[in-house]
């Protein structure tokens, strides 16, 4: 059997090259090959002949990797770009493509600023319109990358137009809170519009939604890294220009906003083309911070229970808790999208559940106190937006906790948890759109 073992080993190394097939698959396939060979030698074939027939029946490595790739697309996440033929020649033009869109976004925001009276004054319409000068370029970049049809591209432009009309027709009170709410919620709405070209127009696919979640997380990480680097650059510039007497603050005022706009597209391009780099980073960050958050949240519950809420009930507390729940939801989503769906529940899943449940408990404590006092405080635009988001996040995380507990106890599947997350996502987009469109008239644009 020695010769046969050697040849099977050779077959293994050949199949191993396919990125879609992992160690356990290989073990399973080898078992299959050996079982087939045993059957064939029993009916009279020589081991050599049997191996030949068995390998042939197994299918070519190309076929095999294609079939495995279809089921295990997450494993292939980083390979999707690379597997394109002629990648080397194309990479230059792709780089240029991203740069063109980045420069266009930077130029658009700069022109808008000058139109708004920069540098002498700053009109408030610029603030609420800012994302409309940036995100369409990101959508355009993906429309080009994914080769959307003209019809799809035009369809994609409709939400941008509607948003532009709505927020400029509304008679906002200058600097009022509804205008600020529009400024913060419109980017979220537009980000959901980017999902359309990103997913090549296939909005219902669970897998593509998960890809978009992954993209969002990785984009965020890249953006923060770019911002950090940019911050160092700006600080150094300020120090270097200081002795010359040039007002460095004015320089930064000119450069920073367009750079921030361009970085939106550069970060997206980095996620698209450098998936392999980030793939090692994102799961590590999730692994690191999920336990830390779990510990922090459990400790906070204890503190809350011991000291009570008292009088230090800040009106911004709800906003803080929204941020907390968003971060926890982000960790959960990221943890799920980075985990191998075929593995059984692990300690990470349990820690994640602890984090989610403690965030829920904390939030219910705060929400209870908030609702009890809402009559006294009254509804303001800010409070309505914060409360609405809080309730949506609460529902999302409660569903997550329930399905995750079922998965850990062996009664449910991770797939249910994933589909719950991806089917709930549009709710956030709809809510953000409601804050932009419905809330301002409700509070008479104050």
């Amino acid at each position: 059997m020695d010769q046969l073992d050697l040849e099977i080993e050779e077959w293994r190394t050949f199949v191993e090259q396919s990125p879609a097939v992992d160690g356990r698959d290989l073990e399973e396939l080898e078992d299959h090959l050996r079982a087939q060979i045993a059957d064939l030698t029993e009916v009279g074939l020589s081991p050599d002949e049997a191996l030949l027939v068995a390998v042939k029946r197994m299918g070519t490595v190309d076929e095999l990797s294609r079939e495995f790739a279809r089921e295990h697309s997450a494993r292939l996440w980083r390979q999707l770009v690379i597997s394109d033929s002629g990648e080397q020649e194309q990479s230059d033009s792709r780089w240029l493509e991203a740069l063109v869109f980045a420069v266009a976004a930077a130029a658009a925001i700069q022109v808008a600023r000058i139109a708004a009276g920069f540098p002498t004054e700053q009109a408030s319409w610029l603030l609420r319109n800012a994302s409309l000068f940036v995100v369409p370029f990101l959508a355009g970049y993906f429309a080009r990358r994914r080769r959307l049809t003209l019809r799809q591209s035009l369809g994609m432009a409709v939400p941008f137009l509607i948003a532009a009309v709505v927020i400029n027709v509304y008679p906002f009170v200058e600097g009022g809170s509804t205008e600020l709410l529009v400024a913060t919620h419109l980017p979220v709405v537009l980000w959901f519009v980017v999902a359309y070209p990103y997913m090549s127009g296939v909005l219902r696919s669970h897998e593509r939604r998960m890809d978009f979640v992954r993209f969002t997380g990785e984009w965020f990480i890249y953006y923060v890294l770019i911002a950090l680097g940019g911050g160092v650059l700006m600080a150094l510039t300020a120090f270097i220009l200081d002795p010359t007497g040039v007002d460095s603050e004015r320089v930064i005022d000119w450069v920073l906003p367009p750079a921030a706009a361009g970085a939106v597209i550069v970060a997206a391009w980095l996620v698209e083309s450098k998936k392999q780099v980030i793939e090692n980073m994102a799961p590590v960050l999730t692994m690191l911070f999920t336990p830390l958050f779990a510990v922090m949240l459990v400790a906070s519950i204890v503190v809350y229970l011991v000291t009570g809420l008292g009088n230090a009930f800040d009106r911004d507390l709800l906003g803080v808790f929204d941020a907390l729940l968003v971060v926890v939801l982000g960790l959960v989503l990221y943890g799920i999208s980075a985990r191998d769906p075929s593995t059984p529940p692990s300690w990470m899943d349990r820690i994640q559940l602890v984090a989610v449940v403690s965030a829920l408990v904390l939030d219910v404590i705060v929400l209870g106190a908030m609702i009890a006092r809402i009559g006294e405080l009254g509804f303001t635009p800010n409070r309505t937006a914060a409360l609405g988001l809080n309730v949506l996040l609460l529902v999302s995380l409660a569903g997550t906790a329930w399905l995750s507990a079922r998965f850990i106890s062996g009664h449910g599947t991770i797939h249910r948890l994933e589909t719950w997350q991806t089917s709930y996502l549009p709710v956030f987009g709809v809510w953000a759109a409601a804050v932009v469109v419905v809330l301002p008239p409700l509070f008479s644009f104050m």
């Binding site: 087939q36 095999l64 449910g412 599947t413």
Partner: protein
């Protein structure tokens, strides 16, 4: 048969085979070929992604067991969830057949009625 269609229609066959008792890849494929009388033109490796998908959806569970030669073998077993899904699908099939039968009876009745001009 088209590959996509094969994958879709092979799933119930795999579930049916496993509802007879747990088994491993090579044996399942052998049984699938017997049951389906060679209907699925497949290379062997293609069944594994299907098994993995059914596992992910919670229809199957897997367990690695040691073999005497020192290697391991992955056994698949159907879950209750898988049985329910299979039963529901078979129910649907019966329903579809019934509906087709009804339509056929209706059509023949109409034809016979039409061929007898004397009846109202």
């Amino acid at each position: 048969m088209d590959e996509e269609l094969t994958a879709a229609s092979a799933a119930p066959v795999v579930l049916t085979v496993l509802s007879e008792g747990e088994s491993y890849g090579y044996e399942i494929l052998k049984r699938v070929r017997e049951v389906s009388e060679g209907e699925f033109a497949w290379t062997d490796a293609m069944v594994y992604p299907l098994f993995h998908r059914l596992t992910r959806l919670g229809y199957l569970t897997t367990e690695w067991r040691a073999l005497p030669e020192g290697r391991r073998r992955n056994y698949y077993a159907i879950t209750d969830h898988g049985r329910t899904a299979l039963a529901r699908r078979q129910g649907l099939k019966v329903l579809a057949m019934d509906a087709l039968g009804e339509m056929w009876r209706g059509a023949t009745w109409l034809l016979t009625a039409a061929s007898r001009p004397g009846t109202p």
